[in-house]
Amino acid sequence: MIALFVLLEGWTALPLIFGPVWNPEEGLYGVLPMVGGSAAVTLGALLLAVPTGVGTALFLTEAASPGVAAAARPFLQALAGIPSVVYGFVGLTVLVPAIRQSLGGPGFSVLAGALVLAVMILPTIAAVAEDALRALPPAYREGAMALGATPWQAVRRVLLPAARSGLVTAVVLGLGRALGETMAVLMVTGNVASTPTSPLAPARTLTGSIAMEMGYAVGRHREALFATGTLLLAIVMGVNILARRAGR
C-alpha cells in the first residue's frame, strides 16, 4: 500500500527525474547524481563489510572457542542496536576530520559514507552468514577433514559454496539496509548534488535527498521527491529479485 501511495504521489514527475542535474530552485529534477551517490556509497560499504562480515562469521563458527563465540554475539547485537544518528554524529565529529587530515579533500565524502554504512551493516551480514554456516551439517566438515583438506580448503571449497544461498541472503540484507540508510549518511557525505568522481568527493544519496527536502517541498518539487522514492523502491525490489535468482 505504501508503494502504491508513493507511486501515485509522484508519477507525474517520474519522467522528469531521469536527468543529470538536480536544482529545484531552477526547476530541474534529474536524480542521476544521487543514483551515482547511492551506488558509490553502497558499493563501498559492501566491499568493506562483506569480507569482514563473512570473515567474522567464519571465525565464530570455525575457529573461535565456545567462550569467545558466546561473548562476541551480544557485542554484535549491540552494534546493530545503536541508533543511526549516533553513527552519523561519530562520523561527523571523528571520521570526517580524520579523512580530511590524512587523505585530503573536504572530509565529507563517499569514503566517509561507505565506512559508516559498513559498520552499520556488518552485524547484519555477520549474523545471517553465521546462521547459514551453522546450519550446515557437521558431515560436510568431517568429510572434508577425512579427505585431508586443510581448514581453509574446507572453508573455501566446501562450506562457502554449500552455504551460498544463506550468504547471498546476508549480502542482500546488508545491501538493502545500506541503500535505505538515511540519517547517518546524510551527516557525513556532504550532500552536494553532483555525481562523485572519487572516493574523497562529496556525494548525495537518494535517501538523503528525500529526507533533506521533503519537509518544505511543494508542487513539482514534492512530486519529484516521491518519484525519487518510487525509483528507490524499484531498485530495492530489483536487487531482491536478482539475489533470489543468484541464491538458487
Binding site: 536544482n23 529545484p24 530552485e25 561527523l92 565529529t93 570526517v96 576530520p97 580530511r100 573536504p106 572530509g107 565529507f108 546524510l186 551527516m187 556532504g190 550532500n191 552536494v192 548534488a193 553532483s194 562529496p202 548525495r204 529526507a211 533533506m212 527536502e213 519537509g215 518544505y216 517541498a217 511543494v218
Partner: protein
C-alpha cells in the same frame, strides 16, 4: 527556531498557560502547517513571500536572529567586507591562500537561515557542503580549519568557532547587517490560546527569555537601523 519555541512554550506552561506542542521542520513547513490548519501557529525565520502573505497569514515578529559568519578559530581571517562575502558564498573565491581551498558549508534549500543569507548576501554556490541543521554547520566548521559557514549567533556562542566581523561590525553589535526577523504566523488574527501565548511572548518576561537565548528582542526594533 525550535529551541526558542521550546523555551518559550515551557515558560508559558510554567506560569499557568496551556500546553503547547511543538514540531520542527523549517520555516516553509511552518507556513504549510498553518495554511492547512494542522497548527495554530507557525514559526518562521524569514520574511513571508508575497504568495504566502496573500493567503491571509498574519506575521507577528517576536525577535530578530543575528546570523554569524563563522570560521575555524585557527583561521587568520577575522573580518570580511560585504562584497567579499557575496563573492565567497557565490563560489567565486576558491582559496584562502594558494593551496588552501575554501570549504563552504551551507544549510539545505528551504531552511530559513539559507533564505536569509540568499536575500541579505547573495546566491550560494551549488558546490557547498550541505548540513541540515545549524548545529551540523557548527560541528563541520569547528572540525575544519578551511571551512566557512553561517549559524545563528546563539549557536555560534556555544563555542568551537569564530565569528567574522562584517564591514567591520561584530555580530554582537546592534548595527550588524545580517539579521532576520523571527515570527510566529497565524491564519488571520490570533484567537484563544494562540493569542494568549503571543501576549506572553510580547510581555517583558517573554522578551527577557528571548534575550537570554542570544536573540534580539522585537521591541528593540526601533533602535535598529
Amino acid at each position: 527556531m525550535q529551541p526558542l519555541a521550546e523555551v518559550l512554550a515551557e515558560a508559558y506552561s510554567r506560569q499557568g498557560g496551556g500546553r503547547v506542542t511543538i514540531q520542527g521542520g523549517g520555516s516553509t513547513a511552518g507556513v504549510q502547517a498553518v495554511l492547512s490548519g494542522v497548527a495554530q501557529i507557525g514559526a518562521v525565520s524569514r520574511s513571508l513571500t508575497d504568495e504566502e502573505s496573500g493567503q491571509g497569514l498574519v506575521e507577528h515578529i517576536i525577535a530578530y536572529d543575528v546570523l554569524a559568519i563563522v570560521v575555524h578559530p585557527a583561521n587568520p581571517v577575522g573580518a570580511i567586507s560585504r562584497p567579499e562575502l557575496r563573492r565567497l558564498f557565490a563560489g567565486d573565491m576558491s582559496e584562502w591562500l594558494p593551496g588552501r581551498p575554501i570549504h563552504l558549508v551551507s544549510r539545505e534549500a528551504g531552511s530559513g537561515s539559507r533564505e536569509a543569507i540568499r536575500s541579505l548576501v547573495g546566491p550560494i554556490s551549488p558546490r557547498a557542503i550541505i548540513q541540515n541543521s545549524s548545529g551540523g554547520i557548527r560541528a563541520a566548521v569547528a572540525g575544519d580549519p578551511l571551512a566557512v559557514g553561517y549559524v545563528s549567533l546563539g549557536v555560534a556562542r556555544l563555542g568551537g568557532v569564530k565569528a567574522l566581523l562584517v564591514d567591520g561590525v561584530s555580530p554582537e553589535d546592534p548595527q550588524y547587517l545580517l539579521s532576520r526577523p523571527l515570527s510566529f504566523v497565524t491564519s488571520g488574527p490570533p484567537s484563544g490560546e494562540a493569542a494568549e501565548l503571543l501576549r506572553f511572548i510580547r510581555s517583558a518576561a517573554g522578551q527577557k527569555l528571548i534575550e537570554s537565548e542570544g536573540l534580539v528582542a522585537a521591541r528593540v526594533e526601533s533602535s535598529r537601523r
